[in-house]
């Protein structure tokens, strides 16, 4: 079992070295992540497993540049994030990073089409509404482009979110418990869709989950425990949830 789970590649999409994250809780300082390293190659799909409170969301936030580490270095697409301010990190994400969230995070006032258009409009490809329509076709919602999120079921909302994650041809997609708010059948359909699209687009995928079955579909599985990432084989260590 190698100590450093990162598989060396020529030019990693994401490279984390000795990441630490501590938060202050009253008088005490609570260390969530400690000296964590990770390298993700282009086109790779990586699952990060962990129990509730293990710090999965914290790690995802750091990797996507939504948060800053207390210590350590992180680079995205070859750019060290520590040298960028919040706006710089946002600009780096624009058009290159897609997100799928557990609670969908669709804007309630925008239609399905408008929600999918959102990342395009924030990227240099503003105005390509046909692309957004195509993606909604591909997730099977071509007939419902004008519906508001509240007029869609949970599974449909997550499919809109998946179309939104891929619409700008991102190089990297982060998925945070994408099936967490869905029933098992719907969840399975959504996951099939996510992996199919990911494969077709050749996108790098980082998936955070506590579902071993879901994790198994990734190229590589890592477990987050005690602030550290370790390689992990769900097939060997048994199915089920973290």
């Amino acid at each position: 079992m190698p100590q450093t789970p990162g598989v060396p590649h020529a030019s990693p999409v994401l490279l984390a070295e000795k990441l630490s994250k501590a938060v202050r809780s009253g008088e005490r300082s609570l260390t969530i992540l400690k000296d964590l390293s990770l390298s993700v190659a282009q086109g790779e799909s990586v699952a990060i497993l962990g129990k509730s409170g293990a710090g999965k969301s914290t790690l995802l936030g750091l990797l996507a540049g939504l948060d800053t580490p207390s210590d350590g270095e992180l680079s995205l697409f070859g750019h060290p994030l520590s040298r960028l301010d919040e706006d710089g990190r946002a600009a780096l994400r624009a058009g290159r990073v897609g997100f799928v969230f557990q609670n969908f995070q669709l804007l309630p006032t925008l239609s399905a089409l408008e929600n999918v258009l959102l990342p395009l409009e924030l990227s240099p490809r503003a105005g390509e509404s046909q692309t957004a329509r195509d993606w909604l076709e591909r997730v099977g919602l071509g007939e419902r482009i004008d519906h508001l999120p509240k007029q869609l079921s949970g599974g449909e909302q997550q499919r809109v979110a998946i179309a939104r994650a891929f619409v700008a041809d991102p190089e990297l997609v982060f998925a945070d418990e994408p099936t967490g708010n869905l029933d098992p059948d719907t969840g399975a359909q959504v996951i099939d869709l996510l992996f199919t699209l990911n494969r077709e687009a050749g996108t790098t995928l980082i998936l955070v989950t506590h579902d071993h079955a879901l994790a198994r579909r990734c190229d590589r599985c890592l477990r987050l425990a005690a602030g550290q990432l370790n390689a992990f084989d769900p097939a060997v260590e048994g199915g089920g949830d973290e």
Binding site: G61, D67, E86, A90, T109, L118, P119, L122, A126
Partner: protein, 853 residues
């Protein structure tokens, strides 16, 4: 990129219009704009209406007067500036009919006369309104002249070397500028007949008047010319400066309207601040998501800023339309007051409205909106990560700065704006502490409520809910109390203004002046009017005198250049003597005359002529002193009946010109003027039913000149009545603005309340129970706010009366009952109504509401 911002802003605005906070924001902005534009329109028109009226009294917008005919160059200059000119010549001459002779004040008018208004003339078929003077060859006499000469219509009178037919009896002249100096009866003739009379000779005492009618711009344009004319000794009357009669009451009304308008804007601002808070909270998730997808901070601010800007512009448009409609209503109310068609409303008030909306938005929403750019993208993963609310000082500071600028814009006075602002800041600090104490007190009282009745239970629970959100409750209490305070102020000040106005012009305000009562007629005259007259002012002795020297110089040399044409230098002044300060006068500098020495008592008869060595002390009206540059200790010399009297100013008086009582520019001490020929002046109120007395007085006292001021008085009453109605309309707007604050505050706290009622229901509370608890919570908040509002209103009204409105403060007992109870009822009922939809929600939905984007 920028088109993205526009698209995103536009799309969400369209859908956001359904959200309660956006609606509250929108309504508040509409109200601010409506109040601002309506008041701007109204004051604009009031101003123009007053000028029109003043123009009518003066006979034109600009009146020039001198002893020689005006030259053509001057006429050409004025005509080029856009004035229409009318010539008038005034002189005193002996008129005769048969054996009767009468010194008469002749007024020769041309065919343009009158510029404004109409003459009321009886030409044999009852009194008619005629918008011209007599045609050539004819003359119109006033009733007194007709009585004195025994004239009937159609008879001819001798005027100088010609004869004219008297074809009309003038009941009222279009221009009322005659004044009290006009002792002689009136004959109006046409300027075409002037040459034939042969009365215009070099050296004769003739006043040539040039009456000009024109726009405010024209008047502005000729100001340099007017200053030159004044220096040359021409008397210049400018409609904007020499505005008669209406004075203080209207100035107060204008102050009041501006105040009311600003209160509406302030309240709307508070509502905007509250709704923005909720708006930003609701959009933090959206902002975080946009951040996640790569939007910059600048982009976030642009998107939401544009959205609010769009909202503000739409609100401005609707508000301005409402303001326009409101001013049309005002115009309808004022239709009698403004006799001539006015130009269409200008764009200035509209611009002011839009500016107000933007200023209110930037000032009251700006800092809160900036919070949105602080949002962390991480919030998409961790909901609890809300950016800190903006610092309180920043929000209050920005709002104060913007409101201060608006105050300045509307009041035109930096010192007033700064004073109100600084006072407001101090008051706010004190209030913050006071609101904490008050809320604590009320809650402590409620917590001690015992009893198991549903209402005491509801009050206890409601009180506890309020206590849990102490900080938010404190903020709302502050907002409500300021709202109640403002509403109370408007009502209080309005009530007191009306009372003051009414007491200022009671029904028995003198409507007649009697001038030129000879000492020998004095007792007979008083006896003649006593049975019919209810009120009469004192009889003032009056001596005519000319100011001939100021500090040893000719008056024209001694006064500021701008005052060289002043009427006080050109005409004889009415002088009087008084032992005590007349009613309505107030010494503003120096001392009133000392009481006469008692030792003089028995020597009075002997010492008919007082010593002339030492100057006589005199009291001068402060306004005249200011115009002529006179101060205490200045020596003035008067020429009275050919004698010279040397005087020294020992006091300056301010006096209330609005009272319709005889007023004097210069008052002498007793025993200084008695030796000169003098007459008496008095004012009295003659009821409508006793008008027959006038004919009798004219017959029995032909020398006495009676001046009817009923028309002027009526105009003043009309204006006050109409302004009052306008004020009521504005008050309605202020009340609406107050309710919009309530609505915004309740909208802002709705999610938290929804969560609480959801929990209560989960724990088994029924609909009625929840309904009562919510009602009780709001009512307690309203009660506390009302108490504080009452305290504030009491303090502020006292200050306002003393320093701004010039009234005497008095306590308002009813306030302490009406505000707390009314507040509890109003906040209770509206809050309860707004919570209706919450009570109908299933608990699951209520509990989920907190987390919804």
């Amino acid at each position: 990129m920028s088109s993205v911002n526009w698209r995103l802003a536009g799309r969400s605005l369209k859908r956001d219009l359904r959200a309660a906070d956006v609606r509250a924001l929108f309504v508040a902005l509409v109200l601010a704009v409506a109040a601002a534009t309506m008041i701007a329109f109204f004051l604009d028109r009031l101003e123009r209406g007053l000028e029109r009226q003043a123009g009518q009294m003066l006979g034109g917008d600009l009146v020039l007067e001198q002893r020689d005919p005006f030259d053509d160059a001057l006429r050409a200059t004025l005509e080029q500036a856009g004035f229409v000119l009318s010539d008038q010549v005034d002189l005193v001459s002996m008129i005769s009919q048969g054996e009767r002779f009468q010194p008469t004040s002749l007024k020769a008018v041309d065919d343009v006369y009158p510029h404004y208004g109409v003459n009321r003339v009886d030409r044999g078929e009852g009194v008619e309104e005629i918008s011209s003077g007599p045609p050539a060859g004819q003359a119109w006499a006033d009733p007194r002249l007709a009585e004195l000469l025994g004239l009937t219509l159609g008879e001819r009178v001798q005027v100088g070397q010609t004869e004219l037919a008297v074809t009309g009896i003038i009941e009222r002249e279009a221009d009322q500028s005659a004044g009290f100096g006009n002792f002689n009866p009136r004959l109006m003739i046409n300027t075409a007949d002037l040459d034939a009379t042969g009365l215009v000779q070099p050296g004769s005492r003739i006043e040539f008047e040039l009456l000009a009618a024109g726009s405010a711009q024209a008047l502005e344009q000729v100001q340099p010319l007017l200053s030159r004319l004044r220096e040359q000794g021409v008397e210049v009357r400018d409609v904007r400066v020499d505005r008669p009669q209406l004075g203080n009451a209207l100035a107060r009304a204008e102050s009041y309207l501006s105040l009311a308008g600003l209160v509406a804007v302030l309240l709307a601002g508070v509502a905007v601040a509250m709704s923005t808070k909720r708006y930003v909270e609701r959009h933090l998730d959206t902002a975080a998501l946009l951040r996640c997808f790569g939007a910059s901070q600048y982009q976030l601010v642009t998107i939401f800023g544009l959205q609010l800007l769009g909202l503000a512009l739409a609100a401005s448009l609707i508000g301005a339309l409402l303001g326009l409609a409101g001013q049309a209503l005002l115009l309808w109310l004022l239709v009698q007051f403004i006799p001539l068609p006015l130009p269409l409303p200008g764009f200035m008030p509209l611009g002011l409205g839009v500016l107000t909306a933007l200023a209110v938005l930037v000032g009251f929403a700006g800092p809160t909106l900036l919070r949105i750019q602080q949002v962390s993208a991480l919030k998409v993963l961790r909901r609890e990560l809300d950016p800190l609310p903006p610092a309180g000082w920043l929000v209050v500071g920005t709002a104060s700065a913007v409101f201060g600028a608006l105050l300045w814009l509307y009041s035109g006075s930096v010192s007033l704006a700064l004073g109100l602002l600084l006072g407001g800041a101090v008051v706010l600090g004190v209030l913050w502490v006071a609101s904490g104490l008050l809320l604590g007190g009320v809650l402590a009282l409620v917590a001690r409520l015992s009893g198991a009745t549903p209402w005491s239970q509801a009050l206890r629970l409601g009180g506890r809910q309020l206590a849990r959100r102490r900080q938010a409750g404190r903020g709302q209490l502050l907002a409500f109390s300021v709202t109640f305070f403002a509403m109370a102020m408007i009502v209080l000040v309005r009530g007191d203004l009306l009372t003051t106005w009414q007491s200022q012009l009671p029904d028995d305000t003198p409507n007649y002046f009697a001038i030129n009562i000879q000492p020998s007629e004095r007792e007979a005259f008083e006896a003649a009017i006593a049975p019919s007259v209810t009120t009469q002012s004192a009889l003032y002795p009056m001596v005519r005198g000319r100011l001939v020297e100021i500090d040893g110089q000719a008056p024209r040399e001694a006064v500021p250049e701008s005052a060289r044409g002043d009427g006080a230098l050109r005409r004889e002044l009415n002088l009087t003597w008084q032992a005590v300060l007349p009613e309505g006068n107030e010494i503003v500098a120096g001392q009133w005359f000392a009481a006469p020495r008692p030792a003089q008592g028995f020597m009075q008869e002997v010492e008919a002529t007082p010593e002339t060595d030492s100057p006589v002390p005199i009291s001068v009206e402060a306004g005249l002193a200011e115009r002529l540059g006179l101060t205490l200790g200045d020596s003035l010399a008067f020429s009275v009946g050919g004698d010279r009297i040397d005087t020294r100013i020992t006091s300056l008086r301010s006096l209330d010109w609005d009272t319709f009582k005889p007023n004097f520019f210069v008052i002498f001490p007793p025993e200084s003027l008695e030796r000169f020929s003098h007459s008496y002046i008095t004012a009295f109120y003659l009821p409508e039913s006793e008008q027959g007395l006038i004919r009798q007085l004219v017959r029995d006292f032909p020398g006495v000149s009676l001046l009817n001021v009923e028309a002027i008085l009526g105009q003043v009453r009309d204006v006050l009545g109409q302004v009052t109605r306008a004020v009521e309309l504005i008050l309605a707007l202020v009340l609406l603005a107050g309710i919009s604050v309530l609505y915004a505050a309740l909208t802002a706290s709705r999610p938290v309340r929804a969560h609480e009622s959801g929990l209560l229901r989960v724990f088994g509370a029924g609909n009625r129970m929840i309904s009562r608890v919510q009602g009780a919570e709001y009512a307690l908040l309203g009660l506390a706010s009302g108490l504080m509002g009452a305290a504030l209103a009491e303090l502020a009204s006292a200050a306002l009366y003393l320093y701004w409105l010039d009234l005497t403060p008095r306590p308002h007992v009813a306030l302490w009952l009406v505000l707390p109870l009314g507040g509890a009822l109003l906040v209770g009922v509206i809050g309860h109504m707004l919570s209706y939809s919450l009570r109908r929600q299933a608990p699951a939905a209520s509990l989920g509401l907190l987390g919804e984007a």
